[in-house]
Point group: C2
Chain length 446, copies 2
């Protein structure tokens, strides 16, 4: 029986363990942190995760989707908190489509419990990878409690050790490893909003709350206990930025001015702000993901993306399902399967990386832009007239399992149709006229 | 007096030392290798360098240009060895413009000698940087002869340690360091062509000899002693590739078939091929180049490029001159100067990186492409009619000090004019007609 080592016991690692155990591999998962099922949470260390259709599809195939769904809160739209104090609820779809908000830690625990059900999966916590011989597939770990070092080998090593992957750094030292890391000018910081408020907006639990303010924003995800977890997105430097907030007064002024309705529900925002870390956003792109049949990068280690589209965990889960399909198709030939996997998967993760960078600019900057809003109106018009044949890019990404690259291609073709409609004279006033509807009909049937 | 440490004593390092010593800094250059002035050369470790106008302009400002010119061989054009056995000499310009071919090692020695003339410059060879504390600007070195470790500090550290920069790797571990490395699918290998041949082509010493063969090529640079240094460019994998050449017979077959006139002058090609390393080509892009006023990346460490345009050393030398200008403008305020330097220099090195990737495809693939050759004919037509106002991109890059990004912009504007001419009916036959000349005149005067 082949032995597989998975380095990283976060989200992708445990799901991958479950997938590989089903294929009769003997799997050991090494995780640098403590077992989260037996220890208390660290403060401000993670934002909430949103799961969507493609993430659940991958969870479903190893039978853990329903257990995950139990710890999620569905969000059926965006609740926009405008700068003028007005609100706007934007549903994600016409059929109750929802994103599922879940705490990263709770999700981690469910996935660990699920993988532990298999006798072929072993977990080794407090094991930090500090050395890796690529050709021999030999890893050196340091025990986080004792400081002792120990070695491990495997037939195949899976690097599921996240955006700052240690194993990827070893690959990078070799020739011909293409690699790019791209940071946003923005960072983010987690700030809790407790349960029990009577504010009107706070009652809208089944929505993502967004306070778009041009160069910065606040976004809040609902939790099971009635609280929200908010994330403050600010430029790292500049006039309104993490760098410019030095004192409690600076912070209070920002919240009073920009997010007064949120601020009223955040009694500990000052201490939370100064206690919690500022987290950068980074896109990681690299190739190849493998070194022979010895190591394969997967999840964020292979393709970290900005969190703006909520696709990080979903993409990692989808990786597991697609690798599983490739192993099936290649009859268990590991090297052939990992090559097929990369060929199939690379264009999709490139696409979702691009989409995530673009979407961040969109939700931050463009929500108040009239040209952008008109474009969205035209898109909705297409979708209402041709619900089966015209889906928005967002719907394709979040509410289908259409491969990311295919979604991007479909959107590029659709954009040309939208451009054609937008170029009609006086379109803003005439969008719902029968003339324009006939024009759209002609476009869609030509 | 401020103390500056330069890590890397290759090409950019010694020139930078001369520039900074003129500004009264106390400079120590640390180089991991032996002093090349006292040791024998390593085999197959470097290809020839080509210097051009902008490189010499930077050498001139510290008074080392004439010493360098003495060890160069001017190449006034490309001598193309076509696959059908015919030859074609393509002059670089109408005024005797030349590239200057020089051995990397000889150039290194001249630059070291020149920097050593200043009492403010100290060299420390056999000093490999193995540790770097960014905030304290403290470096740890290992002595290559004794294995002993020692520390050094400086007010400012300059990382001139090349494409595989150790110091850059330390910067990369921090947040917000954007970084990309991009490898060609091709590698190259140095193969000498001795002096003393009577072959007709071998007498053309003042040219770069190129054997373009679509997916691969051979290129030969003239040396002072009458020999040439050739470089074989092959895909790393595939039908004709470094990977597919297993035996002496494989190699001989390639040379007999593709480069017979070169092969006739390369008596040791088999042993050279199997003894010399295959060198990959990598583009490095990153930002920011500094960490506060503690460290600044320069030369290949900041922006390695493919060697195809022959701009690597020239760009590194130009870095030194531009940093010097920024220090002058900022009155010696180091941090302000390094920021001004990056703002000014970054677009240029991005442009030359793009140009080098594109030019590699051009010289390898397109030389035999009729559409490409027609385009070049049209460009030469413009240049002949308007020599003062229309320079080819190649001329702007190699034979002027026009900033790279500006050269690229000028070329993009010019490309539109060339496109307009190419779109005329029957242009191939009518290019020299008075109609077309009037059309070009109208384009250039509108």
């Amino acid at each position: 029986m082949k032995r597989i080592a998975i380095v990283g016991g976060g989200l992708t690692g445990p799901l991958l363990a479950a997938y590989l155990a089903k294929r009769d591999y003997e799997v050991t998962v090494f995780e640098r942190n403590h077992d989260p099922r037996t220890t208390a949470p660290q403060r401000g260390k993670s934002i909430n995760i949103t799961l969507c259709t493609r993430g659940f599809a991958a969870l479903e195939r190893v039978g853990v989707a329903s257990a995950v769904r139990e710890i999620c809160v569905p969000a059926r739209g965006r609740y926009i908190h405008n700068a003028d104090g007005s609100y706007e609820l934007q549903p994600y779809g016409n059929d109750g489509e929802a994103l599922y908000s879940v705490s990263r830690r709770a999700l981690n625990r469910v996935l660990l419990d699920h993988a532990s059900l298999s006798s072929r999966v072993t977990f080794r916590f407090d094991a930090k990878c500090v050395g890796f011989d690529l050709d021999a597939a030999t890893m050196t770990f340091e025990d986080g409690r004792t400081g002792d070092r120990f070695h491990a080998t495997a037939d195949h090593v899976m690097a599921a050790d996240g955006a700052r992957s240690f194993l990827r750094r070893e690959l990078q030292k070799r020739d011909r490893f293409n690699f790019a890391q791209f940071y946003s000018e923005h960072g983010n910081k987690e700030l809790p909003i407790p349960a029990g408020s009577r504010a009107e907006w706070h009652k809208h639990k089944n929505a993502l709350h967004i306070w778009p303010r041009g160069q910065y924003m606040l976004i809040a995800f609902p939790n099971l206990d009635g609280s929200f977890t908010s994330t403050l997105h600010l430029p790292l430097e500049g006039e309104v930025s993490f760098d410019s907030i030095h004192t409690e007064r600076d912070l209070v002024k920002l919240f009073e001015t920009s997010f007064p309705d949120a601020y009223a529900e955040m009694p500990n925002v000052v201490s939370d702000y100064f206690a919690n870390p500022t987290i950068p956003m980074v896109t990681i792109r690299c190739a190849p993901w493998n070194h022979r049949d010895k190591v394969l990068l997967i999840g964020d280690a292979a393709h970290a993306i900005w969190p703006s589209y909520g696709q990080g965990a979903n993409a990692g889960f989808e990786d597991c399902a697609i690798l599983d399909e490739c192993l099936e198709e290649q009859g268990g030939d590991w090297l052939a399967a990992t090559r097929a996997y990369q060929e199939r998967r690379k264009p999709d993760v490139e696409a979702v990386a691009d989409l995530s960078e673009e979407h961040f600019r969109e939700i931050r900057d463009k929500v108040g832009d009239p040209a952008f809003l008109l474009r969205k109106r035209v898109e909705r018009k297409f979708n209402r007239m041709y619900p089966e044949r015209y889906s928005s890019l967002y719907s394709l990404v979040a509410f289908t399992t259409t491969p990311y690259a295919e979604a991007l291609r479909m959107n590029q073709a659709q954009n040309k149709l939208v451009d054609a409609v937008l170029s009609l004279p006086d379109i803003e006033a005439r969008l719902d006229s029968s003339d324009v509807e006939r024009y759209i009909h002609a476009l869609m049937t030509s």
